[in-house]
Symmetry: C2
């Protein structure tokens, strides 16, 4: 186990009708917020009205900035910063899924940096502070409600990059599983694919002696495998929705990665897809992760065999551990498939012509991956395996 520092200070307010508390929570910080959200879904569901009412009851002024798209854009972040500067707003309230939260985080960081906010994503600058943000989560997937990261797409060149800092962890996250009842199946399944990927990016490590976090990872994966089909069958199953929502947060607040070298190659490989083709991140991960597993499993037979036995309950064949592992990879792929996720690039309508370019972009700063170092050729091979 490696040395680590872990701090997840976010206050989680979880359960039915918790969105009514947003005004009171915001009030602890400010009397004026940027109310940041995506499209019209929060208006359709009535959530918008409930938020407005709760803010008004506490006398909190707000300026709206809506229209955040999936794979949130740099232009929107810049717009948010402009508005906050002009209106003297020092708190961002994000109501939505990971895209809205990531956009809010980027605005919160950009507000505390004199230069252009993209510098932060390019690693050209470090911050000593960021504006506080609060969240009402409507889509369990990215774990952004508790994580220290934001991923933004720069439309000039379609670069998708992450910025990581404990400064941007939300102050509070209001999480009502009922708000996810109306999610389409595809969003639900893609969300869980993303959650499982967050766990697996940490799980597959060569770091020895990580028994506790291994088991926490397995617990989280098993919980998703059990509950996603329930939520798909009955979208209003509160229990299943709640399990997915809470596990989605713990999957990515950093706990499961403590003391470990994490991988993150699959995320980077997927980012290139969704930057160009604007596919749903979790759907892209359902395509990439099994291909990545096939390509790398021989580098750590023990860990992949443990995955097969403990996560998928496969009886290990000690004469053929690779066979055991391949069964687990197939089970992973089948699971995503049965839940309505794509598992090939074809299904995502991604042609072959730009795979080389994407492999190039993905590795332009050097090889990727903690378990195995992957170079351009490797990434291209994984794209081909995923076709």
């Amino acid at each position: 186990m490696q040395n680590f520092i872990f701090q997840s200070p976010t206050k989680f307010i979880f359960g039915k009708e918790t969105e009514y508390k947003v005004g009171k929570e915001v009030k602890r910080y400010t009397n004026k917020v940027l109310f940041h959200y995506g499209g019209g879904s929060i208006k359709k569901s009535g959530l918008y009205d409930r938020v407005v009412k709760s803010l008004q009851e506490e006398g909190i002024e707000f300026v709206e900035l809506s229209g955040v798209q999936p794979n949130p854009r740099l232009s929107m972040v810049r717009k948010g910063i402009q508005i906050c500067k002009k209106e003297e707003i020092f708190f961002i309230l994000a109501v939505g899924g990971g895209s809205v939260i990531d956009s809010a985080k980027a605005i919160a960081a950009g507000m505390c940096y004199a230069g252009d906010v993209w510098d932060l994503f390019e690693g050209k600058a470090k911050l000593s502070q960021a504006l506080p943000i609060g969240v009402i989560l409507t889509l369990p997937a990215t774990g952004s409600e508790a994580s220290n990261s934001t991923v933004i797409t720069n439309e000039e060149g379609w670069y998708k990059k992450g910025y990581h800092s404990d400064l941007i962890r939300p102050k509070f996250a209001i999480m009502n599983p009922e708000l996810t009842f109306t999610l389409p199946s595809y969003q639900t399944a893609s969300g869980v694919s993303d959650i499982m990927a967050h766990v697996m990016e940490r799980y597959f490590t060569n770091e020895p002696n990580v028994d506790f976090t291994d088991r926490l990872c397995e617990a989280t994966l098993k919980c998703m495998i059990k509950n996603l089909p329930i939520a798909l069958k009955n979208p209003k199953d509160y229990a299943a929705r709640a399990e997915i929502m809470w596990a989605g947060t713990i999957a990515h607040n950093g706990l499961l990665g403590t003391g470990r070298v994490e991988d993150w190659a699959s995320h980077k490989i997927e980012h290139e897809l969704s930057a160009i083709y604007d596919v749903t991140h979790g759907a892209g991960l359902a395509v990439i992760f099994p291909a990545w597993m096939k390509y790398v499993y021989k580098n750590n037979i023990g860990k992949f065999a443990q995955f097969a036995v403990r996560v998928w309950d496969i009886e290990p064949d000690f004469d053929d551990l690779e066979g055991t592992i391949l069964k687990a990879i197939q089970k992973t792929k089948n699971f995503f498939q049965q839940c309505g996720c794509p598992t090939t690039l074809k299904e995502l309508n991604i042609p072959e012509d730009r795979l080389e370019e994407m492999s190039e972009k993905c590795t332009q700063k050097g090889p990727i991956g903690g378990l195995v170092k992957l170079y351009k050729e490797d990434v291209l091979n994984i794209y081909h395996l995923a076709q």
Copy 2:
């Protein structure tokens, strides 16, 4: 799953040689601390000198208050408050195990209350703030390094009571598993018994639909069952010590109890033991918990069968689930026994004569326990089962 609020803001600084960072961490808050510790063990180990050096390097003044005993005393807390008031100290640095940390928490709370600090433990007063505290942990057991609770023994009448508030969660916890290499076997095993009890107090619930936290609890228990024997066999096994230390924190920072009705009867039943006979808390729990299980398991056959199968890998006998459960209870008891913990009151040299008085005290504010309500008679029966 029930609605919940969860916040564990403590910064965990985990790993080898992390105690050298204490000066820098304290410096974020203050230039003067109460340096609170127990007996001479931190002097023998050299930890005392390293702490002093680190504080001095950052120019941090300190006043020492040593002598905290196991089952920390109210008189010591009052003394700490006096010193802090006189010396104008507004930060407590606790270096030790749960007793020292609990004592520090009580001082931190008492400093922000005009009346007598015991009022807080009697539920007569509420706080709106407490002094910040920092921790260097030397004994993984109570989880006090991250929890919101402190348990103090009032020598006048030997009452042992807890006070719970998010205000007293430590700001930082420095956790170096190497500091636990010199722990005697009995302390190590009792510590793990306490850790496992913290998990089981949450695990055994009638609350339905708590799949995620059930699995996290099972993960934590399995990790302890695997690693305690390793640490006992080779006290300098860093990996096993690290697993125990980190799991001990997560066992009690509140995460595993989110959304659940918790039990806590066994802790209360044990508190009466250790208040009078000053037994090691974890050792007392190793005696009480299996007895409690035997007494209550019929109230939730499903949950206890799950415990047998998932934690102890017992093949379930569906024609005799009670038999399956009794095997698990026996395995739990055997595990504690094999690790050197007592499992009967006799071994703790506790005579029969005051069991009735303890049962009375334990339930004087009404029945105890979240899984099953236990009255005086029930508690007495459990003491008898534990003989």
